[in-house]
Symmetry: C2
Subunit: 270 residues, 2 copies
């Protein structure tokens, strides 16, 4: 049994017929519920554990319908369509009668094909030249990641209201304790880019990720080759208006291969 | 009854309990099934028509599970979670016993809040200075849009294999015949950016959109103000590898307001 906090937090007991039981874990606690990335990783783990699953994750959409309460939950995974090149999945997390999270997944056969990467990562200093920000004494999930922030505010570096900061962040990020990269950890890492409005406005305020979509652009061997070394994460947002905002992130291997892109829409109160 | 082809193609007969019946329409036919944007618009129309729906669309994810066959289908819409600030929806399109499309939606209350738009549209010539590309004699859905392409290949301008082109496109795009913008047409417009690999490689080949996520960043009044004038569309892709590729698009009003961002993951054969 792997005792990494992420593996403990995503431990699922199979109940048969695509159903699994788990429980929230204090190591990934956020303000008023689990870190969304931990919930995304749980949904991923459930789909990967489904006996009919073939191939590797290609797309994941997680809808955060309601706050997940501390304690047990059930995840039900349904194979919606079993195609030759892709499988389509729905997943639902319940606590009692309440649906707290829904998700859809696409898995695809591992294939060698033509490859082309028009996008390149920005030039950045190597992780060893960037200091990790201190995370102690904050929300527990911050301690589960090493953040070597290269530009942009962090939640530990907020400014007085009125001074708007850029919405973009460049960061070297990885699991703490260190953990070899896989699709479970990558789906959580995709949500480690803080809700942009907090950085832009410079103070903590009621916000929530409403929906999160991640596309996995690397096969299992590429993730394995990355191992536990830091990923380069780039995040930015286009617009904040009418109570909602978008944001996008790209996660690159440390040798410049794009591993995943992730998009989310966030709610803010005022 | 509005007789615009998009309204005809998204006509749904309510069957009660969130179920609707419709049929594919020849005006939006693609190569081997309906244009994916028309399917997205149908799912949007069904959610908007649900009697319990409040607020405006915020997020839409459409999973193209299987080719939609010519003929009738049923769409079932389920209100998964009815929260104070957001409603979460699932939708499913079936033909006979087969699920051909799944979708999830978030709708949100219309609210005035703090607003901030760090992203700006690129400088481009106005629509009147850009020629519309000829679409006649191609797939029927091409004729349902006016494409004033400013850069990048089009499917009408392919190059011999071996010469790779950039993956990005700048285009003024709108419905044909002209139609005032709403969330139904915007959800379809978000999918008018061709699968990038066709443009990059320069020839038609087997491709498909697997999953499409659109975030709506403008309220109903902003869409109404845009009317039937062309939208500025910007599309690009990061990486093509292992049979899948990402692509993203931004749709701007002609006065520089971001109306929607849209992301998709596409499958390619080889």
């Amino acid at each position: 049994m792997n005792s990494h906090p992420l593996d403990l937090a995503t431990t699922l007991e199979p109940l048969g017929e695509g159903r699994f039981r788990g429980a929230t874990h204090p190591a990934y606690w956020n303000m008023a519920g689990p870190f969304g990335g931990a919930t995304a990783a749980l949904m991923m783990r459930a789909v990967l554990a489904h006996p009919e699953r073939r191939g590797r994750p290609v797309a994941q959409t997680v809808n955060f319908c309601a706050a997940v309460a501390e304690g047990e939950f059930e995840i039900a995974v349904t194979l919606v369509r079993d195609g030759r090149s892709t499988q389509h999945w729905n997943a639902e997390m319940r606590q009692g009668e309440a649906v707290v999270t829904t998700a859809s997944f696409v898995t695809g056969a591992e294939r060698d094909t033509w490859a082309h990467a028009p996008a390149r990562p920005p030039e950045v200093p190597p992780p060893g030249e960037v200091e990790a920000i201190p995370t102690a004494g904050r929300m527990p999930w911050f301690d589960r990641y090493e953040f070597r922030v290269m530009n942009g505010r962090t939640v530990f570096d907020l400014a007085p209201p009125g001074e708007l900061a850029p919405a973009d962040t460049k960061v070297w990020v990885r699991d703490l304790p260190e953990r070899p990269l896989d699709y479970v950890s990558l789906s959580a890492l995709a949500d480690t880019f803080l809700v942009r409005i907090l950085l832009v406005r410079g103070y903590m305020a009621p916000v929530a990720t409403v929906s999160l979509t991640t596309y996995f652009l690397a096969d299992e061997a590429t993730l394995a080759a990355q191992g536990a070394r830091p990923l380069l994460g780039i995040a930015d947002a286009h617009a904040f208006r009418n109570g909602f905002a978008d944001q996008s992130a790209a996660l690159w291997s440390d040798d410049g291969t794009l591993l995943a892109v992730s998009h989310q829409v966030t709610w803010f109160k005022a």
